[in-house]
């Protein structure tokens, strides 16, 4: 709309003589502007987008795997640990999609996989205003660790994994 051409009409109520009789209709009935048989012909084809109902969207995605070079665990050892924690982690369902919803927790483990100490690396965020979602996610991650322990760790190589960092990343699931 050309703003300059627009005229603002300001006046007191009651505005003017009522000319038309009005009947109750719905937003869609009121204009009676579409004949279902002619919709296809009338469709604006300038840009056609498709949208599907969410009912069909039921996928969970799995993130890229880290290799054993960076974790000092073999792929199968890492998979075993992941699978265990996946089963224990109840993701808070109300979370919105936010790119920074990543909770990093550093653990000190006993040789049997029991957690001696857990530390949220960005703990300061927990009590910051506007970080309610982060706090909820961090608490759910801590619950998952507690539910899961003793963690499914390798029987050997304790020195390699006694300090373990778990990165709880909800983004993949929230995107879906």
């Amino acid at each position: 709309m050309n703003k300059e051409k627009k005229q603002l009409i300001k006046k007191k109520q009651n505005p003017e003589k009522i000319e038309e009789q009005v009947r109750q209709t719905s937003e869609f009935e009121k204009k009676e502007l579409f004949d279902p048989n002619q919709i296809a012909a009338l469709i604006d084809k300038a840009k056609e987008d498709t949208a599907e109902t969410l009912k069909t969207n039921d996928k969970l995605t799995q993130s890229d795997k880290k290799t054993s070079f960076t974790t000092s665990l073999t792929l199968s050892q890492e998979d075993a640990l992941k699978a265990q924690i996946f089963g224990c982690w109840s993701l808070p369902l109300g979370l919105p999609y936010q790119e920074n919803l990543l909770v990093r927790i550093k653990l000190k483990l006993k040789p049997d996989g029991t957690v001696m100490k857990s530390e949220i690396l960005d703990h300061a965020r927990m009590n910051q205003p506007g970080q309610g979602f982060y706090k909820v996610l961090a608490e759910s991650a801590l619950r998952a660790i507690r539910i899961c322990q003793p963690l499914r760790v390798p029987p050997v190589g304790y020195e390699k994994w006694k300090d373990l960092q778990l990165n709880f990343d909800a983004n993949e699931m929230l995107k879906g």
């Binding site: 709309m1 703003k3 109520q13 000319e19 204009k31 109840s90 998952a144």
Partner: protein, 447 residues
Amino acid sequence: MNRLILIITFLFTFNSTAFSLVEVDITRGNLEPLPIAVSPLYVEPGSKDIKQNEKIIKNVGDEISKVIEVNFRRSGLFNPLKKESFVQNPDIAHVKPRFEDWRLIKTQALITGKVLVTDDKIRVEFRLWDVIAAKEILALAFSTTPNNWRRVAHIISDKVYQRLTGEEGYFDTRIIYVSETGEKTQRYKKLAIMDQDGANVKYLTLGNELVLTPRFSPKNQLVTYMSYFRNLPRVYLLDIETGVQEVVGDFPGMTFAPRFSPDGKKIIMSFAKNGNSDIYTMHLETREVEKITEHTSIDTSPSYSPDGKYICFNSDRSGLQQIYVMRSDGSNVKRITFGKGLYGTPVWSPRGDLIAFTKVHRGKFFIGVMRPDGSGERLLTENFYQEAPSWSPNGRVLIFYRETKSDSEGKGFSAKLWSIDLTGYNERLIKTETDGSDPSWSSLLSK
């Protein structure tokens, strides 16, 4: 020198390898509702029964826990566990629960509490426990008149919801709607209001005049709606708290869907002048009317963004009914829908991140959401006929109405209120005494 650097580099690399922290990314989890145990609130000795209307409520502690459970189950985010599985009795309200017992039934959160009713007061105290961490994470107490016990249950639900999800709740709210009775060809329509869970229904008009499109103010318990006086549309304001009603004005031609501005000071609507429908605002104090759109097409269904800077609306200026967004002064109009079908009844989310709409495509009606620039369209539900979405105050749930197909004589027809959340999975019928249409969700009463 070079040799020294090499040695230092080697040592550094070696050390970093030896002490590198093992990192594992956890990117999957359960998407099941959180298991929660709502213990019946302990009724303290000497507590009185509550007389409400014709009913006598003997164990209000049990009733409050039931209301909380229903709220949580309907939210789709929580799974309240069956009370039969509870190992501890309600009298644990005073003490720390035996967490190991609660872990046995796989709950992750627990609500306990106690209640004392005297002649003119009810005092409710509750605690929320993280069962896995074995600690209390919320404790609050409320006092009010005994007949307000349901509101206390809703307020507790909101507090727990906020603590466990990180977002504001929506349980201590009301829904205003049009109650419908009679045959399809001769419907009696009354304005009705109820709690968000369908309780406490009250009828606000008698049904002798047609009422339409009630809308809550986002700021208070004021409602605007349309009614027909001698077959002509008239816009009203109604204060739900005081019952005071006033006429805002009579408007010409086809008048549609008055809706409040975010600050509650104006209403925005469309009406036809000289056969052309445009969008207007009216300042409620001065009653000044301002024309916002000036176009030969039919512009209807305006809704403000929560910051008041933009308006989304419906227009057929492209030849088909589509959704447009403009600045609140009417400038910078942009079409945002380009998908197949017709789009209508756009409503901006109170969070500002989405616009809800009704879409008609191939004879089916969809309720969906999209971002304000038109991207990310998601259709949440599909049916024979449904429209008029209205947002919960936290922008997570939509309420709308759905009609059933009737035969040529109008038999089999019904109109019901439904809700659906943003996941599209949690669709619920909201039971009402009569048929219902045109629902509008209030803001939080306790805010």
